[in-house]
């Protein structure tokens, strides 16, 4: 199938979906509207809500806040995950001592931490960043830990026989291996950074996409909720696209077959 046909079919799915939604929410079938506007709104209203947000410029502030929170959560969570992952992998004793606690914290549904973070850090961006960090940290941590531990024995011996010191092994063997594992989980960790930010906003904030959705929901503005959802998914797709570009540059050395690791 050619690219254009595929693209046309993809568009067709969207069009059919939107038309069905529009028709079922406005035209009665057998004297009954199947998608009551109160619960389902309709595409035109949703679309005009999105246009209104962008035309008036309100949306930019919220998008900016959510983006800032996601980036901060990703950066801080990744840094922490890399450092601790490295430390644990190189110090098996430390890893063994902390193991049950790491498992315990990781088992905790992170959403329950949101109220605590709001209490500690207030309703500003930092409580959302903290929630995102707890999500991102563990993904990066586990990947880096695995990456350092599973460095091929042969490659390591080869490094030693080529005369590498411990520090050079770190730089030329452990570090690239750990980073490759971290990058392979980039999509997941970036996604979780956004989840942390939006969920945090939804549970209590004064700005951001989650806040917009929560506000709309509060006044039964279903069109607003759907509009927020669409903007959010477009936002995530854009970020994901950016991640793909970064990944392609950083992992050129990796054979395509081993993709999807982590």
């Amino acid at each position: 199938m050619s690219r254009t046909t595929l693209f046309a079919l993809q568009i067709l799915v969207a069009v059919v979906g939107l038309v069905l939604w529009q028709v079922l929410s406005t035209v009665p079938v057998f004297g009954k509207i199947l998608l009551p506007p109160f619960f389902f709104s309709n595409p035109l209203d949703v679309f005009s809500q999105i246009v209104k947000w962008f035309a008036s410029g309100v949306i930019w502030k919220h998008l900016g806040i959510t983006l800032a929170e996601s980036i901060l959560a990703f950066v801080i969570g990744s840094l922490g995950g890399v450092l601790v992952g490295f430390w644990f992998a190189r110090q098996p004793l430390v890893a063994a001592v902390f193991d049950p606690y790491v498992k315990m914290v990781n088992a905790l549904p992170r959403v329950v931490l949101a109220p605590i973070f709001a209490l500690w850090l207030g309703l500003g961006i930092w409580s959302k960043v903290a929630l995102g960090v707890t999500l991102v940290f563990f993904i990066v941590f586990f990947n880096v830990y695995q990456g350092v531990k599973e460095v091929s024995r042969t490659v390591l011996d080869n490094g030693r026989m080529l005369g590498m010191s411990e520090r050079q092994l770190m730089q030329h063997v452990y570090w690239p291996s750990a980073l490759s594992w971290m990058f392979s989980s980039l999509h997941t960790s970036v996604g979780f950074a956004v989840v942390g930010a939006v969920v945090g906003e939804y549970l209590g904030s004064a700005a951001g996409l989650g806040y917009l959705i929560q506000q709309a929901e509060g006044i039964f503005d279903v069109a607003g909720v759907f509009a927020g959802m669409f903007v959010l998914s477009a936002f995530v797709i854009l970020i994901d696209f950016g991640v793909t570009l970064v990944e392609r540059r950083l992992l050129v050395w990796r054979p395509a077959a081993s993709d999807g690791r982590g």
Binding site: S152, M161, S165, H172, V173
Partner: protein, 272 residues
């Protein structure tokens, strides 16, 4: 004047502690000397501990008893005079072919531009001048072995340790690699310890062929000098009468060990 001994294993014994606390003796009382400039091949059945012996010479393993001397100095820690060519892929997958070769010089503190130009020369020497920017996964198995060879040789080690380096390659590529190795080796005649399970390969390449018995507790049970003239061509030398005579002689000893090793490996499988 006698030529100095590059590698000397004196009654080296290698043992491992197994998971259940028993001690498994891989190699018993190995006595082996490789003179400077000598190419020695170790041949033995699967699982006889020949790679283990090589790791001892490299300093990656400590012998349980006996000693290892490198140029008459007792070996402590890693063998810094040796370059090691591994059986498995040992290239750094995140480095290009050129960077993989250059790294051996870079860790010594050679400036990067100098290391890179040397690496390019070595890649050309192994016939991969045009593949400098490929990553290992973009190269064939034979090409990866060439890069690995350049990676080891660029450091100009006095001793070359090779653990079935051409094992994973197909028959034709092995012969081509063998000739390449002999070519490069003849330039400065390093001491070589070459482990293989292929007797033909061993005779074609080496000055001496050493046979090990089947494991566990394997020993060195034979030592033959190969008198074939150098320079050799691996394709040609296999047609030589002397080659055949030697092959028959060594095989008569090796055959029993191979059968023993095979029987043991099947028994072990049944016990498990």
């Amino acid at each position: 004047m006698t030529t100095p001994t590059a590698v000397a294993l004196e009654d080296a014994k290698v043992a491992f502690r197994l998971g259940d606390g028993r001690v498994y003796t891989a190699v018993e009382k190995a006595h082996l000397a490789v003179a400077q400039g000598e190419f020695v091949a170790i041949v033995g059945p699967t699982g006889c501990g020949k790679s283990t012996l090589l790791n001892v010479a490299a300093g990656l393993l400590k012998p349980a008893a006996g000693s290892v001397r490198i140029f008459d100095q007792p070996l402590a820690g890693l063998n810094r005079d040796a370059g090691y060519l591994f059986q498995a892929d040992a290239l750094f997958p995140w480095k290009t072919a050129l960077d993989n070769v250059a790294i051996g010089l870079e860790v010594k503190g050679t400036p990067r531009t100098e290391a890179l130009s040397q690496a390019q020369k070595w890649l050309t020497a192994v016939g991969l001048g045009a593949f400098a920017n490929r990553y290992p996964h973009m190269l064939s198995g034979g090409q990866r072995k060439r890069v690995a060879l350049a990676q080891v040789l660029i450091r100009d080690p006095k001793i070359l340790l090779m653990d079935e380096p051409f094992g994973p390659l197909d028959a034709q590529t092995r012969q081509v690699m063998g000739n390449l190795l002999l070519d490069l080796w003849s330039a400065d005649r390093k001491a070589v310890l070459f482990v293989t399970h292929d007797l033909e390969e061993a005779i074609a390449l080496a000055d001496r062929v050493v046979i090990m018995s089947a494991g566990p507790s394997s020993r060195i049970i034979g030592d033959w000098r190969v008198g074939l003239a150098r320079p050799r061509d691996i394709f040609e030398v296999r047609l030589d009468k002397e080659f055949h005579a030697l092959h028959r002689e060594i095989w008569s000893v090796l055959k029993d060990e191979v059968m023993k090793g095979y029987a043991q490996s099947t028994q072990a499988a049944e016990v498990v």
